[in-house]
């Protein structure tokens, strides 16, 4: 049997960064392949390359034997590829029915009126994805799961040979996940080739015939879900070599509370990103929140920093933060290093640091700067260089140093290890350990890289689908919660 999708030697570079390197994969009709990799591993890029949203630098993509690499997206779509984007992007001013009809229309300027069979077919598809009861409503009035269904409906409307699904189950409840699994399984029955893209094996294991793992743009292994989970490299990428943790020289007094979060919830439109979350951080404590990408870590931190609207209580050092602006919260001592770093790219390292110390008296800023340049010696040698010319690891150190210039009482680190090489992780890890052992700073760390998160943690929370599902000391993590992470 020939493969409906055949990818070989696919390579994509963004500037100097190799996002995808020599990838190969193939899917036969009636087969589901799970493509997994941690955030930044290049799996989404692979999907975009197949769809033609990005143009590959090299390699081949064959749809049912026909070469499509390098063609524009709309031509690839017509060769028989459909995509389900991770975020629902319906036309907001059109009804569900119109949205589905759109996907059925021919790419013609002359067809002013949709043919009768299109209406009929749209209804048929709506029934298949269980949208028929809301068919005349606007997308804005639909619950999140229905929006995902709509996305699915549009992708399969043209009866594509190959269906690409990005994070099929993100943000869905357990019964919804079951429902979606059935829908996707039905594609297999119809002879489509399906590519599921997700963060970890667990998400796609039940559905996939085969699983392919990638990391840093490269192929790691391929096979049954079990085989992939047993693979050494996969285990190291997700869990690290051996889980370990360091004990502190002087234990923290956990009764002395600095941050208290109670019943915090955040909605993005219809999707609930954070569901009734509560957490405490004691003065001087290092707390890690681990969870996969999309679990809600960034949302939690942004809600604490008042960067997104939320409901619930956030109390800092005994006082509520209600009504304070993001700037006020930062000046009060909660300073965040976001995943996106948010450096001032065209300004020098020194200027970035100076802006961090802007609110301090000159004398104090100077002292803080000297201390930080000792802690991160690499920044001293790069002081005059524009921030955007730094390597990823250096940028991450600058982000942390710039935040520390504010003399924060609570430092929030969101995914500091994202996309960094192991040798940089070690340096970062050392710097954190110095902070932990020699200062009284409090740290809240969000990570999907458990190996990095555990050594520095006094306490660990596990976040999944916007909820905490486990809390405990790091030494109990491996046995009680570790299995969640493959």
């Amino acid at each position: 049997m020939t493969n409906l999708l055949e990818v070989s030697n696919l390579t994509k570079r963004f500037g100097g960064l190799v996002a995808v390197k020599d990838m190969h994969l193939s899917i036969a009709g009636g087969e589901i392949l799970g493509l997994i990799g941690p955030n930044g591993s290049g799996k989404s890029t692979v999907m975009k390359l197949i769809m033609g949203i990005e143009r590959p630098n090299a390699g081949s993509v064959k749809i049912d034997g026909e070469e499509v690499a390098g063609l524009p997206s709309h031509q690839i779509a017509r060769k028989g590829v459909g995509i389900v984007f991770q975020h629902s992007r319906p036309l907001h001013r059109q009804t569900v029915l119109e949205n589905i009809k759109l996907a059925l229309l021919p790419d013609s300027l002359l067809q002013l009126f949709a043919a009768a069979h299109i209406e009929e077919r749209a209804h048929e598809i709506a029934r298949r994805v269980h949208l028929h009861h809301v068919i005349n409503r606007l997308p804005g009035t639909l619950p999140f799961a229905d929006l995902r269904r709509l996305e699915l409906a549009r992708a399969i409307a043209r009866n594509p040979k190959v269906v690409l699904v990005d994070e099929p189950f993100a943000g869905l409840t357990a019964p919804e996940v079951a429902d979606f699994s059935n829908l996707i399984a039905s594609f297999r029955k119809d002879g489509h080739a399906v590519l599921l893209v997700d963060h970890n094996v667990r998400g796609v294991a039940n559905l996939s015939d085969r699983v392919l793992a990638m990391y840093l743009g490269e192929f790691i292994t391929e096979g049954s879900a079990d085989h992939v989970m047993r693979n050494e490299t996969v285990r190291r990428v997700y869990l690290g070599g051996a889980l370990q943790h360091h004990d502190r020289a002087t234990p923290v007094n956990t009764a002395d509370e600095l941050l208290r979060v109670e019943n915090l919830s955040v909605f993005y439109g219809k999707a609930q990103a954070l569901d009734d979350v509560s957490l405490t951080v004691a003065k001087g404590e290092f707390v890690s929140v681990v969870g996969l990408n999309g679990a809600g870590k960034t949302t939690l931190f942004n809600a604490i920093s008042a960067l997104v609207p939320s409901t619930g209580v956030v109390a800092f050092d005994g006082g509520g933060l209600d009504g304070r602006s993001a700037g006020q919260i930062a000046r009060a001592g909660i300073v965040q290093c976001p995943e996106s770093r948010e450096l001032f790219g065209d300004m020098s390292v020194r200027e970035n640091l100076d802006l961090g110390g802007h609110h301090l008296p000159d004398e104090e800023a100077k002292k803080q700067l000297d201390w930080l340049l000792d802690l991160f010696p690499i920044l001293k040698s790069r002081a005059g260089q524009a921030a955007r010319t730094l390597s990823g690891g250096e940028q991450q150190m600058l982000t942390i140093a710039r935040a520390l210039m504010m003399k924060p009482r609570l430092l929030i680190l969101d995914e500091p290890t994202l996309g960094l090489a192991p040798v940089i992780l070690e340096q970062l890890s050392k710097a954190l350990e110095v902070l932990r052992q020699t200062t009284d700073i409090t740290v809240l760390l969000g990570e999907q890289n458990v190996t990095f998160a555990l050594p520095h943690a006094d306490r660990v929370y596990v976040l999944e689908h916007g909820r905490f599902i486990w809390e405990g000391p790091p030494e109990r993590f491996a046995t009680e919660a570790g299995a969640q992470f493959l």
Binding site: R331, L343, F344, M347, E351, L355, A403
Partner: protein, 291 residues
Amino acid sequence: MKLLQILIDGFAISSLYGLGAIGFTLIFGVSGVLNLSHGSIMVTAAIAAWVIAGDLGLGPYGGAAGGVAMAVALSLLTYMLVVRPIQTSSRIAREEKEIFVLTGTLLWGIMIQEAIAYLFTSNPKTVRPLIPGVIEILGVRTPMQEILTAVISWVVIGLLWLLVNRTKAGKVLLAASINPRGLTLLGFELPQIYFWVWALYGLLAGIAGLLLGAFLGVSSDNVGQLTASAFSIVVLGGLGSVTGSLIGAYVVGYLETITAYSGGPSIRTIPVLLLLVLVVYIRPQGLLGRR
């Protein structure tokens, strides 16, 4: 002789264009707003100076101070009454904010223009020069005001450069133009920063308007032309790039002066437009713009 005349006139007019455009590009760079009421603010400064110096009898210096103060006030009003409400409105979709800000500032500019025409007629007015008289440079008779225009323009541009590159406040402005979110994370209040940027912008546009009023004279009918020329200069130089805007100002200033001297004033703007079309097609980010 003619060449020297072109050199001198072109320099003065270019410096003035540069000063006018630099505020326009500053606002765009820091807050992403193309302020189409730009010409109105410049004209307001000149007319206010003319009224205060003449009708109120406060003399050229009183007029100059009053004119600039009016421009600053008007600029802040533009921000608070028009730009900010649109930016913070939850009823305007994010992708439509740009067209709303453009339409809003345009309407606001028309209102100011019409108010000036209504109150003071649209007849051209020449602000009394700070230093009257004419001197001869290598045989070219040049009004003192023309020299003053170039000098003041460059002093102000120089001060702005010092402010942005040598002071803490300037660094914050620079940072805001690169990454506003980063500033929020470091405890800065963006609304406050924007307020000061608009005040600074009003100051620059005001001084430019004042100099224009004394050098060439202004009328409320010039509003559209002034906005358009600032816009062209900024696009030519690269949206948001201060150095680019200055270069753009000199290109436009000299190109216009040369055309006016050689081909007549009626075709003054055509070469500039041709250049603009060329630049937009070949290098849409402008001479020095970042993509």
